[in-house]
């Protein structure tokens, strides 16, 4: 359990590294998606530590996993695709305006325009 959480933590840090250290906007959006995947993985993994069966309440099941993290993460996945779509539309708009994806170049060109 310790090793799995460490691996998820490393996935989170890879996404975080992409967000803060990369100059490329699309790479930053990739980092957002990776962070989202890491958080979803962490919740589902922690929720499955109790129980051994899927949370479908039939007559046979006796020991289900925790369904609360699954219900939370279900909405988080759908929200993440909307967030990345909005961010991509904004970055394509920036590319059409300035012709670059690098944030330093974008800032320079926008300040020259004013």
């Amino acid at each position: 359990m310790m090793i799995e959480r460490t691996l998820i933590f490393m996935i989170f840090l890879v996404g975080f590294w992409a967000i803060i250290a990369n100059k490329h906007i699309i790479k930053k959006i990739f980092g957002l998606n990776i962070i989202n995947a890491a958080v979803v993985l962490l919740f589902i993994l922690e929720g499955s530590r109790i129980g051994t069966q899927a949370p479908l309440l039939d007559m046979q099941v006796t020991n289900i996993v925790d369904p609360i993290p699954q219900a939370l993460m279900l909405t988080a996945i759908v929200i993440s695709v909307c967030v990345s779509a909005l961010a991509l539309a904004l970055s394509v708009r920036l590319f059409k305006a300035t012709g670059s994806f690098d944030i330093d170049v974008i800032q320079e060109r926008l300040s020259h325009e004013q």
């Binding site: 990776i34 993994l45 899927a54 991509l88 394509v92």
Partner: protein
């Protein structure tokens, strides 16, 4: 089994960040989603697995490929 899938996801995420070609990054990102869906099935979360597979392999890839086609595929500027 969980550990193997997690190591694969970690390797794919490092590849997403390190790759110079953005289209390769998009395909690796959808690979992360498919591996996560497999892991969710193993962790007894079928609802999340269905959503992750449909979103990560279908919708998200369409959106990213749209953005890359309309701009520039390589990371560095050629000019």
């Amino acid at each position: 089994m969980n550990l193997i899938l997690l190591v694969l996801i970690l390797a794919l995420s490092i590849f997403v960040i390190a790759s110079k070609d953005l289209l390769h990054s998009v395909i690796a990102l959808s690979g992360i989603s498919m591996l996560s869906a497999l892991l969710f099935v193993l962790l007894k979360a079928p609802d999340v697995a269905i959503t992750e597979a449909a979103v990560g392999a279908g919708i998200s890839t369409v959106i990213f490929v749209w953005a890359i086609r309309h701009t520039r595929r390589r990371e560095k500027e050629e000019s």
